[in-house]
């Protein structure tokens, strides 16, 4: 089974990359800052964040690249996963907030005396993990069920997903909603008893993220390689024809859509403790569009591509914003244009093309 999931060179590449990634926190912990092999904790945090983005891009590729459902609202799943985990992290602060209350600071501030119902039990880590999966999953399922049942397609679907994320953003922005308004959740102290700023906790989070990303990749790959994957592609290319040969596209779409939302939610949950803040701007339409861009730059419909795309776009962005703070938008914008013009299949597509050319020559 394994050998059929990827070609041999692809396996080799994945394993090498994963090993290199896994090495980063080790180098960070085991060498002193002055040592040439030392990797700064900034780098580790950065790469950890990118892996979360990569997972979101991967999830998006499953619905967009393979099923042709362009979501401009995946940010909402990412953020909901983040918020679900964030609730736990907030409660783990305990009485160390500025008001030294059992409630998070913003609740004290808004004169809340008890937790609202949707906060109940969130002090339990495993329950919050359940929420991480369930909240985006249920939202996606319900939203998707009605949308797919009504046969909403193409841009119409994209735009209502955008409307969804926008509506959620406004809702979470409201201070009265109970999620800390614009500031969201931040200033976390502990995660399952470990100090969140401790290097070892960070390394552990990083490694869990890496493992999750790999797992998600394999899962997605297995799905798209199955016959179900081919049905998904058929949904993308000619949904009506598919119905005439007896498939009900509704459930197929709903399956990947929900799965994708769940993966995205997990990515969000991993993101929050590493970045240290979750707030409604994660749900802004522009953020969701950026996810689409990661997938497109890497090469959609390839699974590996979006991961590469997430790393390269964010990597460049991080570098540009530090190195050319005045000019970086030109560079980034130009890059997007050039990628579409000269690499319509993204980075991975270009690589494949070059390989073909080399073989032909």
């Amino acid at each position: 089974m394994k050998t059929t999931l990827f070609t041999r060179p692809a396996w080799a590449g994945i394993i090498v990359c994963a090993a290199l990634l896994a090495l980063l926190p080790v180098l960070n912990l085991s060498f002193p800052a002055s040592h040439p092999l030392h990797v700064s904790s900034y780098m580790v945090a950065l790469v950890g964040k990118f892996m979360c983005y990569a997972m979101a891009a991967l999830a998006l590729d499953l619905v967009w690249g393979y099923t042709g459902i362009l979501s401009l609202g995946h940010g909402v799943f990412f953020a909901l996963g983040g918020y679900a985990h964030g609730m736990y992290l907030m409660r783990a602060i305990g009485r160390e907030g500025v008001y030294q209350s059992d409630l998070p600071d913003f609740m004290v501030f808004l004169d809340w005396k008890t937790y609202p119902w949707f906060w109940s039990m969130t002090d339990n880590f495993w329950y919050s993990m359940l929420l991480v999966v369930a909240v985006p999953g249920v939202l996606a399922f319900v939203f998707g069920y009605f949308a797919f049942r009504s046969r909403i397609k193409g841009v119409y679907f994209s735009i209502i997903t955008q409307a969804m994320t926008f509506a959620f953003m406004l809702l979470f922005f409201r201070n009265n909603t109970g999620f800390g308004g614009n500031n969201g959740f931040t200033d976390f102290k502990r995660i399952v008893g470990h100090t969140i700023t401790a290097p070892s906790t960070k390394a552990a989070l990083y490694l869990i993220t890496l493992a999750m990303l790999l797992g998600a990749l394999l899962l997605c790959r297995w799905i798209v390689r199955s016959k179900l994957g081919r049905v998904l592609q058929a949904v993308r290319d000619s949904e009506s024809r598919l119905m005439f040969i007896g498939y009900n596209p509704l459930w197929f779409k709903l399956f990947v859509w929900t799965l994708s939302a769940v993966l995205c939610g997990i990515a969000g949950a991993l993101y929050v403790p590493q970045v240290g803040i979750i707030n409604p701007s994660e749900m802004s339409p522009a953020n969701s569009i950026e996810m689409v861009i990661w997938a497109a730059v890497g090469g959609r419909g390839t699974l590996l591509g979006p991961i590469i795309g997430a790393f390269s776009v964010n990597g460049l962005k991080s570098w540009f914003t530090g190195a050319f703070p005045d000019l970086w938008l030109y560079a980034l914008g130009l890059m997007f244009i050039l990628v579409t013009l000269f690499m319509p299949q993204g980075i991975l597509g270009l690589a494949a093309k070059l390989r073909r050319q080399k073989e032909a020559a």
């Binding site: 950065l46 931040t186 976390f188 914003t321």
Partner: protein, 389 residues
């Protein structure tokens, strides 16, 4: 190294670039000035600029980069509360220093942060008192109008408690919020008009950034003049007014700790320095640049940090923090500002200005001298114990 690196963390793109870009430029100007006078402890300051692009997690990432990668001694930056909240854990974790130059809602006090902008009692409360005074029009009813986020919410909460303590009934207070980027104020202005029929009304606006222009335009076109319903704003300064046709705004108010129109030698020099800097660096619209309160706060912050470093003879965070308390600086506002010994906030004068036709403010009221910040507002329940901070 023979330079000291300092970080500048202001959005140069995205929604906040409108406000933050000029803070970056002022910071650079100040650094240039310090370097021209021989630097700090004989070392030149080397600014490291990054663009967190109005993206809050990116603020945290960039802060980390500045401190742990670029090894800066101090960071000057942030504008919105959420950006500050987002970087706080980083500064705490890495024990580094942030100078925050903008007025804010209070309810915070971090060892690693120095707040050079106003706390609510240095801006909002005096402004409201003024509105209630005879000179300010003797307002009886209040519309608390803000963008829906933490600064307006907190400020309004404090103000509501304050107004209550002054005997204003709840029915005479109307609290209204709009989403970010809201641009259609027709309904709200109509409601203000309706509300004002019930007695002398003032609007206390905590509308953020971009939404101010459509609000004031609507207000002007609906025929509500400052003499009828004055609006006092806490986020509108000279810089914002550059982008507005000020004719319909004349007479509306703003409360700050500094106005460009303040007349004193330090300010004259400050304005001149800034104007010359803008022309020399060919900043866009260099011939119309203005100064404003957060710019002054940035300028003051950098200078005070320099003094503290020289006093501590080190850029070590803890030593600088210890040296900061009690630092004084003769600020463009015309006063000698003091860094509080305990609460990391500046003692600042409060001024209320009326908008003039040329986009400047005429100061119509000010405190006798600098007043001490109360980051923990006494008008918020549970803060009683913290008053001594």
């Amino acid at each position: 190294a023979d330079t000291i690196k300092v970080g500048i963390l202001h959005s140069l793109s995205g929604t906040m670039a409108i406000s933050e870009t000029s803070l970056k430029d002022v910071a650079l100007m100040t650094i240039e000035e310090i370097n021209a006078k021989g630097g700090v402890m004989g070392k030149m300051l080397e600014p490291v600029i990054v663009d967190p692009a109005s993206n809050w997690p990116l603020f945290a990432e960039k802060a980390r980069q500045l401190v742990s990668q670029d090894k800066v001694a101090v960071v000057f930056g942030c504008w919105t509360s959420v950006s500050r909240k987002s970087v706080l854990p980083v500064f705490k974790e890495l024990n580094s220093l942030l100078f925050y130059p903008v007025q804010y809602e209070g309810e915070e006090l971090e060892k690693n942060v120095f707040y050079t902008g106003a706390a609510p009692n240095q801006q909002a409360i005096p402004a409201t008192e003024y509105l209630m005074s005879k000179e300010g029009g003797g307002a009886k009813r209040f519309v608390l109008l803000g963008t829906d986020y933490v600064y307006p919410r907190t400020t309004n909460k404090i103000l509501r408690a304050f107004l209550k303590s002054k005997g204003v009934k709840d029915s005479d207070i109307d609290e209204v919020y709009t989403p970010f980027g809201h641009s259609d104020y027709q309904t709200i202005v109509a409601n203000i008009k309706k509300f004002s029929a019930g007695g002398k009304t003032a609007v206390i606006s905590t509308i953020n950034g971009d939404s101010n222009v459509p609000f004031y335009k609507e207000l002007g076109n609906a025929g509500l003049k400052a003499t009828d319903v004055p609006v006092v704003a806490f986020s509108v300064g000279e810089e914002e007014l550059r982008g507005v046709d000020t004719k319909p705004l004349v007479g509306h108010l703003a409360a700050w700790n500094y106005f460009q129109s303040v007349k004193n030698p330090v300010n004259t020099a400050f304005i001149k320095q800034w104007k010359e800097y803008a022309v020399a660096k060919k900043l866009p619209n260099a011939n119309t640049v203005v100064t404003n309160d957060p710019m002054e706060a940035t300028y003051v912050g950098i200078h005070m940090w320099k003094q503290a470093v020289e006093k501590a003879k080190s850029t070590d965070t803890d030593k600088v923090i210890a040296a900061m308390g009690g630092q004084t600086f003769k600020a463009p506002s015309g006063y000698e500002l003091t860094m509080d010994k305990t609460n990391h906030h500046l003692h600042k004068p409060v001024m209320i200005g009326e908008i003039k036709g040329d986009g400047q403010f005429s100061v119509v009221w000010k405190t006798k001298g600098p007043i001490r910040a109360q980051p923990w507002s006494p008008y918020i329940e549970g803060n009683e114990a913290k008053q001594k901070m």
